[in-house]
């Protein structure tokens, strides 16, 4: 299958400080990748480098089989990047603004735009700055998602949306993914993306630790919940202690039968948050 985005050895530094170190990420079409990492890990910077908002020091980025150039109008019309800092400040109403905006995108779908706007109850006769922060984000999402994008880069915007808007837009992303688009969503709210993400990419201190399909991760690692502390010798790691419950993660294949057969242990696939805690807390590497 043709890759949608293929990033190889991307490095970026800001003045003398290196932010990204030889980051590589490859996604096929129709994938939904959750980009997770601690604050300051380099998630936003990574997305900005792909979107052309930063110029990488080195590396190669291929988009739909061609080298990505931030001067190629054709490529830019198929790629969208939505971040909290975007705005459509203008004296025009949203309706009049969109009249000019949509002319930039040959694949613009008025139907998609109208349906999102109707679903979210956005009044197009108002100006952008007359809306609240969350509403502005909804307008941006509605505008950009209607352009028929092949690659959707989203940088932690869903956190400003209310719960209903979060669910609605996640469904829209998922539908776009099913139609063949690729989404990379950088987020700290892992629960919102968990039902939809097909791939998980973990970034730490400017290094991409891994980028694997979620199903593979869930097959490989197991979560154990118990009300008693377990010895380390069992090959599992404690990741969290919450409400008198202990949460452990370990490799499925190295789990001993004594744990598997112990009825007091609740065993199941780990959630995104648990995986995040596992890999970030212990500074672990993904097992091959």
């Amino acid at each position: 299958m043709e890759k949608c985005i293929d990033v190889q050895n991307l490095s970026f530094s800001y003045l003398s400080q290196k932010i990204l170190h030889n980051c590589s990420l490859s996604l096929d079409k129709g994938r939904f990748c959750a980009l997770i990492g601690e604050n300051g890990a380099g998630k936003s910077t990574f997305l900005k480098n792909i979107a052309g908002l930063e110029i990488p020091d080195q590396g190669n980025i291929q988009f739909l089989g061609e080298k990505l150039s931030n001067d190629s109008i054709i490529q830019k019309s198929k790629l969208i990047f939505i971040t909290e800092n975007l705005s459509f400040s203008s004296p025009l109403t949203i309706k009049k603004f969109i009249r000019s905006f949509k002319k930039l995108y040959p694949l613009w779908s008025q139907e998609v735009f109208d349906s999102i706007v109707k679903q979210r109850g956005i009044n197009l006769e108002k100006r952008f700055n007359d809306y609240s922060r969350g509403q502005k984000m909804q307008i941006l999402l509605a505008s950009y998602l209607s352009t028929g994008p092949k690659l959707i880069l989203i940088d932690e915007v869903t956190s400003v949306l209310d719960i209903h808007a979060q669910k609605d837009f996640m469904k829209i992303f998922y539908n776009l993914v099913k139609a063949g688009s690729t989404v990379i969503l950088a987020t700290n709210i892992l629960s919102e993306v968990a039902p939809y993400a097909t791939d998980l990419c973990f970034i730490e201190n400017g290094h991409i630790k891994f980028n694997v399909p979620v199903n593979d991760l869930k097959r490989k690692y197991i979560r154990i919940k118990t009300d008693k502390k377990i010895e380390k010798a069992y090959g599992i790691e404690l990741i969290e202690e919450r409400e008198d419950q202990f949460y452990y993660i370990g490799l499925n294949e190295s789990l001993t039968s004594s744990i598997k057969n112990n009825s007091s242990f609740k065993i199941g696939p780990p959630s995104f948050e648990e995986l995040f805690l596992f890999f970030s807390k212990g500074k672990r590497e993904l097992e091959p």
């Binding site: 003045l15 908002l53 110029i55 020091d57 931030n70 001067d71 975007l86 203008s90 000019s100 905006f101």
Partner: protein, 445 residues
């Protein structure tokens, strides 16, 4: 680009309308509070100050940059839109300026001030200093700097640039290490090591380097903000160095050619020599005779003199001897600066027994000082310097009868400075005549 213009032109139009209505309202308010104010001048003050602030700080790119960079616009399109929009702002400002003049007319006091040379003198002198060849190149770059400011992103966008203000020492060391060979190229690409030896002698170098940095950084910040990828390439920095080296070298070659042509007057030749001091230290002495005999201005002479002394080409005494070796008639032939008369009078203090010399000098002074902005002050000084050339009141009669205002004032100062009674009597006798030109204090009598 047209879509961008449609989106943002309305914003600026509304902002400009609002600002100018405020300016006009302020004028009427000020006139209401103080009916005696010059409405014309006040209206221009409010117009320029408010519109300049609007021009510099109300700019669409700051808001639109965040989405245009990720939208299907070419960088060059955004760059051109910026230029085009600035012209639009200028055009709009021009319309409002015309309306301003239509309502309030031109300030009358500007016309009155033009007639008062005394008030303008120091301004003119400052302007002369700035236009001097020593600062010329810095001014050229300064103009580039102003133009760049007008057509680049707004100042607050520049100031917000990371790297413009927040540069740390470790960042500087990092870049010095990364581009260490550029540092060597920069040093040796400069026009000769002589330049470094004399840099303290040339403020133009300091200005040039300063303005070069600012101009470069403004352009560079622009390219950075628009995320042009060429700024990460070494060729870009080499090209910048090459451009500046070419400018420096071309100016030097152009200046050399001007001198070689031999068609320059002495004032222009001296200015050219002084300009060249910023580049290479060629020998000036071969041109010195030609410079001294022409239309050289006194202030240019002073600069040339200190330059020649600093570079040990000729001492002050030898220069004075050289001037003395030229006959006064030849020396003053093409000159129009009355300050020469004061200089020569000062130097010739020991040659008081040459009446013909002083006669020529006085003729020269009275002929040329009448156009000078501080003619009165110069006349007083000249009187002091030539005090001992007057031996009796009869020597002053011809000045009195000449009908020339400056000669009358000169006579008055001579009479005032002389202690002998005979001069006091002469002064009292002709007081009515002097009072036509000077407000005479009773205490003098």
């Amino acid at each position: 680009m047209f879509e961008l213009f449609k989106i943002y032109s309305r914003k600026y139009f509304k902002d400009a309308l609002y600002v100018n209505i405020c300016a006009w309202f302020l004028v009427f308010l000020t006139a209401y509070v103080n009916p005696k104010i010059d409405k014309n001048e006040v209206s221009l003050t409010y117009f320029f100050s408010l519109n300049i602030i609007l021009f510099l700080f109300s700019y669409p790119l700051e808001e639109c940059l965040k989405w245009v960079l990720v939208s299907p616009f070419k960088k060059i399109e955004i760059f051109l839109f910026n230029i085009f929009f600035q012209f639009f702002k200028l055009f709009l400002s021009g319309i409002y300026f015309s309306l301003n003049l239509f309502f309030f007319d031109l300030p009358l006091s500007v016309e009155k001030k033009k007639a008062t040379f005394q008030e303008d003198y120091f301004f003119n002198q400052a302007l002369d200093q700035i236009m001097d060849s020593r600062f010329f190149f810095g001014i050229v770059l300064f103009i580039i700097f102003i133009i760049v400011t007008l057509f680049s992103p707004s100042p607050k966008l520049i100031l917000a640039q990371p790297g413009f203000l927040k540069l740390k020492w470790k960042d500087l060391i990092f870049y010095l290490k990364k581009y260490r060979y550029f540092v060597f190229i920069f040093i040796f690409a400069l026009p000769g090591i002589k330049l470094l030896k004399n840099y303290w002698n040339s403020p133009i170098i300091i200005y040039t380097l300063g303005f070069t940095y600012l101009t470069f950084n403004f352009f560079h910040s622009y390219f950075k903000k628009l995320k042009f990828s060429f700024i990460k390439k070494k060729k870009y920095y080499l090209a910048i160095l090459f451009i500046f080296v070419t400018i420096f070298t071309s100016l030097k070659i152009y200046s050399n050619n001007r001198i070689k042509r031999g068609s320059l007057g002495s004032e222009n030749l001296a200015s050219e020599v002084l300009f060249q001091r910023s580049f290479y230290l060629d020998k000036t002495l071969p041109h010195l005779n030609e410079i001294l005999r022409g239309d050289l201005k006194f202030r240019t002479f002073k600069k040339l003199k200190s330059y020649l002394e600093e570079t040990s080409q000729i001492s002050s005494l030898k220069l004075e001897e050289k001037i003395k070796s030229i006959s006064l008639l030849d020396f003053l032939n093409k000159k129009e600066d009355p300050l020469w008369a004061l200089y020569l009078a000062n130097k010739a203090k020991n040659n008081q027994n040459e009446p013909q010399y002083y006669k020529l000098l006085k003729t020269f002074f009275f002929k040329n000082a009448s156009e000078h902005p501080i003619q009165l002050r110069l006349t007083k000084k000249f009187a002091k310097l030539t005090l001992n050339t007057v031996n009796s009141p009869k020597d002053l009669e011809k000045h009195l009868k000449s009908g020339n205002k400056l000669e009358a004032i000169y006579t008055f100062h001579i009479l005032r400075l002389k202690k002998e009674n005979v001069y006091k009597i002469f002064l009292k006798k002709n007081m009515n005549y002097f009072e036509n030109f000077i407000r005479v204090k009773k205490s003098i009598l």
